[in-house]
Amino acid sequence: MRGNKKWANAYLVFVFLILYTPIIYLIYYSFNSGGTMHDFEGFTLEWYKEVIGDTRLWIIVLNTLTIALLAAAISTILGVMGALAIYYVKKRQMKQLLLTLNNVLIVSPDVIIGASFLILFTIIGIQLGFTSVLLSHIAFSVPIVVLMVLPKLQEMSPTLIDAARDLGANQWDVLTKVILPFITPGIFAGFFMALTYSLDDFAVTFFVTGNGFSTLSVEIYSRARQGISLSINALSTLLFLFTVVLVIGYYFISQKSSTLYGMRGRRK
């Protein structure tokens, strides 16, 4: 048994090494004074200075975060509504049809979605920029949220709703006091899924950006044409540290709230 555990740990370490090596490699060379991703010549903070002095880059970072947060929030609200609608459909075939239509959007290639959005926006005369990017991000995030929320709804026992009804709850009460609290984990999962999808989307965004508006992935791509400048490494390092801080913060918050709930449970 003990030997097994050792192997399991070794395997775990190995997998994490593979996953993190590229990131560490990138961070390491962000300090290279040589200006390339090979031959480490000396330590420098020059690239970080360049990033901090580049206002355009910061505007793009802010744009990316704004788009991601707004798109995730709006698509979560729409997606929860959609999941509820699918849940309440009585006919089985209709339900299947709706779900398939939803899934087709997830499976279809980003490039096609992006190209069709570009055509749509130019036909109806929406200027490419903030609005076009936000709308397309909401559109491709909604199906994901639906898919994350629906299993939670199906998991919920229908007797819960019946019981609430018996106790005199109206439609609104059932929704806000029974269903939504039950599917809250699914909603959060959907939100964070949509957030990551929006943050790292390249293909769709590439088609619908324009007029000086850009997101980080598109900007890095166009800067990379002449060989990636190490300021991109520096920026990636900063963003990586930012996400690490966020994850740690999230961990402490969830720890705190779970102990609170635990205490409340005991007092009862």
Binding site: I59, T76, L118, I119, R223
Partner: protein
């Protein structure tokens, strides 16, 4: 429920704060004002200090956007919905955009600095009379080779590449016209040949090159050559200048059979909002001092004759990047061959790529 509501309220609040900050930043930087100019150029293809200088001189705020291929740029401009004021297409893209009605004619009275351009680079087949375009940079396609790895062997012509000793040593750029053109040139045909028999012949000749070809790659070719992953690469001259600066063992040659002469050109696309500003920007870039500064930063060859006076001698006397045209007469500009012929070139190139070693 309360948890959900407060969570979403916080998210919306945070995003509006972020939005506010970025709008404020845009304002202080001047991007949101009326007096702006959107420049659409290749990545890292201008000295950023020049943009600052232009902004200071004219009070116009420049929004600088980049693209990575002529096709992507043309698609965005053709679609509309953007406000690019100046774009920098290559010569064949200029003639295509001209045909599609995507360009606004230039007002030469607003471009007095046009007189500094070497007449050799004006009035070319892709834009007679420079009605729509002004050359920005020019260069050639040629061979970069590693002296050390080849052990003193000299490369001077395309046909040297077929040498049996060069097994698995050659990297090619992933461009149909460049590679098929190399085959045509090695047989002393024109780069714009539309005779299908000649093209077949070139393709068969290229098939015989496959044992020597290590890979057909994109922009990473610069890194691979600088790291000595292969001894020989077929590249554009600007890329060559960049890698030679990185690795002293490398040298560049324009093959004696002839090669391609290419231009990137400044144009005003039909999406332009600030046509006056666009002319001022183009004229600013044509100023000899500015052109020299830009050429030194970017590393490509400038068509601006007066600018050569401001460049260091080591650069302007380097025959590899500023060849005298008398010695190599066979430099040809790509002509727009039409959709059909281009598809045929691509087809041949694809067949070559699929050819088994």
């Amino acid at each position: 429920m309360r948890k959900l509501i407060s969570f979403f309220a916080a998210v919306f609040f945070a995003s509006f704060v972020l939005l506010y900050v970025s709008v404020q930043l845009n304002k202080t930087e001047g991007y949101a004002g009326e007096n702006t100019l959107t420049v659409y150029n290749w990545g890292d293809y201008i000295d950023p200090a020049l943009i600052k200088k232009f902004e200071k001189q004219t009070g116009i705020k420049v929004i600088y956007q980049t693209f990575d291929s002529n096709e992507a740029m043309m698609a965005k401009i053709a679609q509309g919905g953007t406000t690019f004021d100046v774009a920098v297409p290559s010569e064949y893209a200029v003639s295509k955009m001209k045909e599609d009605g995507l360009l606004i004619p230039l007002d030469h009275s607003k471009l007095p600095n046009l007189k500094y351009i070497n007449p050799r680079f004006l009035n070319l087949s892709f834009d007679p009379g420079n009605k729509y375009s002004v050359p920005y940079f020019w260069g050639t396609v040629g061979i970069v080779y590693n002296r050390e790895m080849l052990g003193g062997k000299k490369i001077t012509s395309w046909n040297d590449l077929w040498d049996k000793d060069l097994r698995n040593q050659i990297l090619l750029v992933d461009g149909a016209r460049e590679v098929i053109g190399m085959g045509l040139n090695s047989l002393h045909y024109s780069l714009n040949d539309t005779n299908k028999k000649h093209l077949q012949e070139a393709k068969e000749k290229l098939d015989r090159l496959t044992p020597n070809v290590k890979a057909i790659v994109g922009d990473e070719i610069k890194m691979l050559l600088a790291n000595e992953e292969a001894a020989i690469g077929v590249v554009w001259s600007g890329d060559a200048a960049e890698i030679i600066a990185e690795n002293d063992n490398l040298d560049y040659v324009v093959p004696k059979e002839g090669s391609n002469l290419w231009f990137d050109n400044m144009v005003i696309p039909k999406t332009a909002k600030n046509i006056e500003g666009a002319h001022r920007f183009i004229n600013f870039m044509l100023d000899p001092k500015n052109a020299a500064q830009n050429a030194e930063y970017v590393g490509y060859s400038t068509p601006n004759e007066k600018a050569l006076d401001y460049l260091p001698k080591e650069i302007t006397e380097d025959k590899r990047f500023y060849p005298d045209f008398e010695s190599i007469g066979n430099l040809e500009v790509y002509e727009n061959l039409g959709k059909r012929m281009l598809a045929y070139y691509n087809e041949l190139f694809l067949q070559f790529k699929m050819h088994r070693k």
